[in-house]
Amino acid sequence: MTLVMVVDDDQDLAEMLGIVLTGAGIDVDLVSRGDEVIDVFRNNPPDLVLLDVMLPGLDGIEVCKLIRAESMVPIVMLSAKGDTHDVVRGLEAGADDYMVKPFRHPSELIARIRTRLRRTNTDISGLLTIADLVIDVVAHQVSRAGKQIALTRLEFDLLVALAREPGRVFSRDALLSEVWGYRHSTDTRLVNVHVQRLRAKVEHDPEHPEIVVTVRGVGYKAGGQ
């Protein structure tokens, strides 16, 4: 049974989220204060955190940073603010995905949570390579010259998605659908921010990327071929 930690100070919404998630066969741990999150997280590590931005005690952005400091667990931010500034702030704090209230389709929330919880591409065995990077899909590890690089699950999924089809140019929409589980969205901010973060971790020189290459006007592709 998977466990999702729902952090929201609005009791009714939290309860409703609990009902919806439980209905989808997911266990729920409800937390209503930002400063309680990290203790609950350590005592009972969830498979995913659903985190509201505005929280009493400790701001959601700060909570996100605290969790990211000790875990690569998927984090989905919930925000009543859809302004770019807030979204980018959340993503930069380490969130993998965000949802702006009110969610267009509650079922989409479930779909996205499922995508984030999915065990990545276990059908592919063996090793993938991009340039001098070696990706061990089964072991969920990325290394360069034998040295491991720590990636969040989402960053790993993004890298694997690109590495699996080396010649293909992925549009941002295609990446949103394959990596984030979006059904229809044009929110390219999400892709841009995560590509930047991934580059910061895997590129020799993030200003001149060689692994995640931009194809102007279209999207991204795996480099090094």
Binding site: D12, V20, A80, T84, K101, H105
Partner: protein, 512 residues
């Protein structure tokens, strides 16, 4: 505007200085020439008076001495005559010499001796004929102004006094005493040049004084102009400097009072609208959390509708529909409040507008089919990449499309894309109900409906076109509408290929 505003005080000063120079030129030349003519007349009169007195005594003494010598022999008359000439030119001469000319009266009895003579090589033609005639026909002194010509071809201004004399055994002669006016001319030249110089100096001084005075008056005016311009540019902190206690100072005080009041008013209005926008934004945000709960619970209810009574099942559908509508309204209101607060941000990326348009049409194809509307797309074969905010551009196109579908009355909707290297245009034309041309400028108004009695089929928010217009303008593009009752409407979105550039052309003609 600005250049003429800056020009005005300059030309005012120049105009005043120029007219002052002109007027003082007139006054100075009138007074100067009057003064000069009075002075020259006076100086000449004094000379004439003394000359006549001198000449009279000279001629009288010559006549007297010659008359006394009438009994003497010829030689002795000649001697006396010579001494008379000598004394005539020496007596009383001091600064300017006198000249004497003796001419024989034509037709008088010719003696043995010719006494015609002139001193210092004064040529006899210096004496004008009219003077000679007067002297010949008169017993008294005659005088006139003339030029004294010397044999050496030099000549000076002079004054001549003449009278007939008779020389014993010599006949009738005319005796002329010539006085040089060279000194007087020199004096007058000095006076006139002094007059010119003082006149010139006066004019320069007056111009200078006027310039300084004008500047004292104009400078505060210029300051006021400069500050007004800064006001126009939105800087309300500027004030005029008030140092004195005169009319200029009261101008400054009045100006500053106006500035203060303006600044306060604007600050108050700004604050009001900030509070207002803040309120709208806060309300929208606060509404989101309960709306999320509502939405999820309605979905849970909706998903379970199969076990419900038909009335309750239908109610759950209505609930979901209305929550959708409520949510759209909220989103649109929030977007409008962003535009009003001028915090809307353009997030430009490179994308194919044709691909976007096709996606929008696909999204709306179900609605179009439900309304029996066919959407025909006429696009360039190649992709048209533009730099713009894809979310906003797609929102504009979706708004135009659903608006057209709403009003097409089952007739086809024509969608056209045209592109040039600088611009791109998207036209959406329907042949439905249309709109009265005089109402066209209202279609972008918030919550405005062409026909309030007409039922809303798609439950639009009434803010779609207002937002579309703002979205277009954020790209420095334009959104224009054409329509005629019964002939349909045509909306055209014009965008520069790079957001923020100037539109170079209108690639699709709006009319028709």
């Amino acid at each position: 505007m600005r250049s003429s505003g800056a020009q005005k005080p300059h030309s005012l000063a120049l105009r005043v200085v120029l007219s002052t120079i002109f007027l003082s030129l007139v006054v100075i030349s009138v007074t100067g020439s009057t003064l000069y003519s009075r002075l020259s007349a006076g100086i000449k009169q004094v000379k004439v008076d003394t000359s006549i007195i001198e000449a009279r005594s000279t001629i009288f003494s010559a006549q007297y001495r010659l008359a006394i010598a009438s009994g003497n022999p010829n030689d002795s008359v000649r001697d006396i005559f010579n001494s008379v000439i000598t004394s005539a030119t020496t007596i009383g001469t001091n600064e300017s010499g006198r000249e004497v000319v003796i001419l024989r009266v034509p037709g008088s009895a010719i003696g043995k001796e010719n006494y015609e003579v002139s001193t210092n090589l004064v040529s006899s033609d210096s004496i004008p004929q009219y003077l000679r005639k007067r002297v010949q026909n008169s017993e008294s002194l005659e005088s006139t102004n003339l030029q004294i010509n010397y044999a050496g071809a030099t000549s000076v201004a002079g004054f001549a006094v003449g009278q007939r004399i008779s020389i014993p055994k010599g006949g009738e002669y005319e005796m002329y005493v010539l006085f040089s006016l060279a000194d007087q001319a020199a004096t007058l030249r000095l006076i006139s040049s002094s007059l010119y110089l003082t006149g010139l100096a006066l004019i320069i001084l007056i111009a200078l004084i006027i310039w300084i005075v004008i500047h004292q008056v104009v400078k505060p005016v210029r300051d006021a102009v400069k500050i007004s311009q800064q006001f126009t540019e939105g800087d309300f902190s500027q004030r005029m400097q008030v140092k004195s206690n005169d009319e200029i100072a009261s101008l400054g005080n009045a100006f500053n009072a106006m500035a203060e009041s303006l600044e306060k008013q604007i600050a108050r209005l700004e604050n009001l609208s900030r509070v207002q926008q803040r309120f709208v934004s806060d309300v929208s945000h606060e509404l989101r959390t309960p709306l999320t709960t509502l939405r999820m619970s309605s979905e849970v209810i909706h998903n379970a509708r199969e076990g419900f009574e038909p009335v309750i099942a239908r109610s759950s559908e209505l609930l979901i529909g209305q929550i959708d509508r409520f949510e759209r309204l909220l989103e649109d209101l929030l977007e409008i409040s962003r535009f009003d607060a001028e915090v809307a941000v353009l997030e430009a990326v490179e994308f194919d507008i044709c691909g976007s348009l096709e996606r929008c049409i696909a999204d709306l194809s179900q609605v179009a089919t439900e309304n029996g509307v066919e959407i025909n797309l006429n696009r360039p074969r190649d992709s048209v990449f533009i730099n713009g905010d894809i979310r906003r551009v797609e929102r504009i196109m979706r708004n135009l499309l659903s608006n057209a579908i709403d009003h097409a009355e089952g007739k086809p909707v024509e969608v056209r894309v045209m592109a040039s290297p600088e611009d791109v245009a998207v036209g959406v034309r329907d042949y439905g109900v249309g709109i009265e041309p005089k109402l066209l400028n209202r279609v972008f108004d918030r919550f405005w409906r062409a026909d309030p009695s007409r039922a809303r089929t798609r439950g639009g928010t009434g803010l779609g076109l207002s937002i579309a217009l703002e979205d277009a303008r954020l790209h420095n593009g334009e959104l224009e509408a054409w329509g005629e009752l019964g002939k349909g409407t045509h909306f055209v979105l014009y965008l520069p290929r790079r957001a923020g550039d100037q539109l170079q052309s209108r690639l699709i003609s709006l009319k028709g």
